[in-house]
Symmetry: C2
Subunit: 87 residues, 2 copies
């Protein structure tokens, strides 16, 4: 499946959340990640994110699409990170 | 179509970008919006965003899905804004 993940976490947890998400997905913008991921890997990522989050203060939102083909991406202005130089 | 819009713009433009996006989409998290939108309204939003952006410094990324049904949303932690209290 293909996912978009956005997070809004308190300053003291941003570094660890960034590091965690980078291990599973591509960073594309401040607090925004995208990428192909399996159910098993996503479950792993989410359990680690839950362990890290403060459920009262922090927020992580995921949008899951069955395939990347169902999502058309468009960028205005600067593209912070080019996916093709990572793959 | 259903879209997810994320922006990363310089501080001096954040207020105007927030105001602009709020007229077309639902704010769900810091710099993150989602919502149903027509091609015409999206074209309108993007032309206004382009007029506001500094293409060298700012970044807006959109993910378009043909329908909301093709996107499964999951929230960890606090849901900043509940869509149902807006509709």
């Amino acid at each position: 499946m293909y996912i978009i993940l956005v997070y809004d976490v308190k300053q003291q947890r941003v570094g660890r959340m960034l590091k965690l998400c980078r291990r599973y997905l591509h960073w594309i913008q401040n607090s925004v990640f995208e990428g192909e991921i399996s159910e098993v890997k996503l479950a792993e990522l989410l359990s680690k994110a839950r362990a890290l989050l403060d459920e009262e203060e922090d927020s992580v939102i995921l949008f899951k699409s069955r395939t990347q083909q169902w999502l058309e991406k468009q960028v205005l202005g600067r593209e912070r990170s080019r996916l093709d130089n990572i793959l």
